[in-house]
């Protein structure tokens, strides 16, 4: 049982570099999400996609972009990483909007 697969698990990145976090689901869920988790701030929504071909901005979208070319994949790209993007990133999916979310195990990103 795979569910949501995220890669890489962990990455250290120099500021200014481009980075793509990968997310793949095998549940054929329509909706997918990217959250970041920071100590004391909980999880904050970065971007979401209600269905393949569509994306939307969440609470903290600046500095991030996403694409949803197909149902299964939802990559998150940092075009030019900054230290404030140091965080743990979680990808999630759901059958519909605001239903039960299924989370990946996270990608820990450190920007130096």
């Amino acid at each position: 049982i795979a569910g949501i697969t995220q890669a890489p698990t962990s990455q250290i990145l120099a500021a200014g570099r481009r980075m793509t976090l990968r997310c793949t689901q095998d549940m054929r869920h329509n909706a997918m999400y990217w959250y970041r988790q920071d100590l004391g701030l909980g999880l904050r929504l970065i971007h979401y996609s209600n269905t393949a071909g569509t994306t939307g901005k969440g609470e903290v979208p600046d500095g991030y972009s996403v694409s949803r070319a197909n149902t299964d994949d939802f990559p998150l790209t940092l075009a030019s990483a900054v230290p404030s993007q140091t965080s743990v990133y979680f990808c999630a999916s759901s059958e519909g909007n605001a239903g039960e979310l299924f989370f990946g195990e996270g990608s820990r990103l450190t920007v130096l």
Partner: protein, 113 residues
């Protein structure tokens, strides 16, 4: 901005005791969910309660919802060491987040053997 706020931020209890965590939110909701996160892992869905429901049970979990007070509580009965984790409430708030789930900052529960 945070829609949900959990209370307390941290809770330490003895195995066998009950653990109660509270969640307050700001705007009207369609449903409220509780999630669990073990250290270094992803979140796992525990239970969903709809705005027209007042109480829901799942195994040792009991969730209540008071929409007039904009609050919810999660009760874990007969706690076990394996219940040690962080617990988050999440709400969908049509007015503020377009039905997307907004998470609180979580309660860290430690259950001592």
């Amino acid at each position: 901005s945070q829609q949900g706020e959990e209370d307390p931020q941290a809770l330490s209890i003895q195995e066998g005791e009950n653990a109660t965590m509270n969640c307050s939110y700001k705007t009207s909701i369609n449903n409220l969910q509780w999630y669990r996160q073990n250290s270094g892992r992803g979140l796992v869905h525990l239970i969903l309660i709809r705005s027209n429901e007042r109480e829901k049970h799942s195994g040792r979990l009991r969730v209540t919802l008071d929409t007039s007070k904009k609050s919810s509580s999660l009760l874990i009965t007969a706690s076990r060491a394996a219940d040690t984790a962080s617990y988050f409430c999440a709400t969908d708030a049509p007015e503020s987040s377009g039905d997307k789930l907004t998470f609180g900052t979580g309660t860290r529960l430690a259950v001592r053997p």
